[in-house]
Amino acid sequence: MSNDMTSVIQSSRPLLAFRVVQWATLAALAWKIGGFVAMVNCYVAIPLNQDFFPWVFRSSYVLTFAYLIGCISLACAALTQSARRRIIATIVSLACMSILCIHQGSHNDMTFATAWWTSLWSVWLATRLPIDAPESLIRRAAFVSRCIISMILLGGAVGKWTSEYWSGQVLYEIYFEQRDFWFFNLLRSRFSLEGLRTVATWYSRNVIIVETLGGLGIWLLPPWWAAAVSIGVLASIATFSNFNLYSVLLSLMGLAAAGFFVALRVRTPD
């Protein structure tokens, strides 16, 4: 590889990582587009007057606007060559994710909570791209990314540090009793009711342990290892519990990939 090419790759690592995160977040938002359309149609047909939410955060039009503008701004941030437009696009997507996190019709969906954190990371990185040296910037970007992933896994773990989760009761009721998903259908076909309850216990304990270890440990790992472990853990969560969770986790998988850009070694001619 020529020295020119080496220099281009090295200098563009933070920008490449930034773009991966924008596309991954966009993919996360698009993952449940069918469900989103059905949901908004339902909200338009049957508005819910709940005083807790200000009217603007009950409006289906605000919800649709925030979702669409959020998607467009993510694509703009990924595609633009202009640093100024990149910063504006990331600020707009952060604003849209903020609306989606606190809107009556979308507050429940953790897709927007994880996208909020990746958008926050993106705003910061976009503002630093024109200023900082690429090598130090990508190291900091990868460090912040694994801190965010650790904190989010910790959030999942702490809420499960209860006897009901340790016994497997909660996940048994949510997943094992009736959920139509390949993994649980397979388990139901293989185990008796009693055996299924035991499997639920160990499944739940495995989730608690993995999330706890990830939450407490991923931020301490070297960048490449943190990226690989995070993507593996996040993909396993969705693959073995609910494919819809990819909408929650794709943005984090993109964020985790920032670590690979630190570890990337470009061979230079002797």
Binding site: H107, A113, T127, R140, L154, G155, G159, I174
Partner: protein
């Protein structure tokens, strides 16, 4: 001594420290939750819209809470029917238990025409519990009024 130039101030990465600070505060909040009753109450209230201020509730929304707590719900068809046999649907749910009405297209299943419904929601975490009771009543102007109260 010369004051720092604008170029030098620009090179200090304030955003990096601000994000790290936010992550640390969030992580400390989460780590304190199993032992701190106020944080437990705050999160239980968040899950069932009982936070005193909407904006205090909104400020907690970026705090990750996937599959937190034991959250259960029961839906009944009318306010007058209270016996357990009349339960339309009950279940355990991953986080916000009122999502059966507020979120997704379930609303179309439970709220049709003039027919409202009653929903009870329970969330529990390490001995702390919250039970709320909600009614969805058809509004002549359109849609449904959704009103809830805390139950002992």
């Amino acid at each position: 001594m010369t004051p720092p130039s604008f170029a030098n101030i620009k090179r200090i990465d304030f955003g990096f420290y601000a994000i790290l600070g936010l992550i640390i505060v969030t992580a400390l909040w989460l780590l304190a939750m199993p032992w701190n009753r106020d944080i437990q109450r705050s999160t239980l209230n968040r899950f069932q819209f009982q936070t005193r201020s909407y904006w205090a509730w909104a400020a907690q929304q970026p705090i990750p809470s996937m599959y937190n707590f034991h959250n259960r719900f029961e839906v009944r068809r009318t306010q007058s029917v209270t016996d357990r046999d009349a339960v339309w649907e009950r279940g355990t749910i991953n986080h916000f238990p009122l999502r059966m009405i507020t979120f997704g297209d379930n609303r179309g299943y439970f709220l049709k025409g003039e027919d409202g419904c009653v929903i009870d929601a329970w969330s529990s975490y390490r001995g702390e519990q919250l039970h709320t009771h909600w009614t969805a009543t058809a509004n002549p102007a359109g849609g449904f009024d959704f009103v809830g109260e805390v139950r002992p």
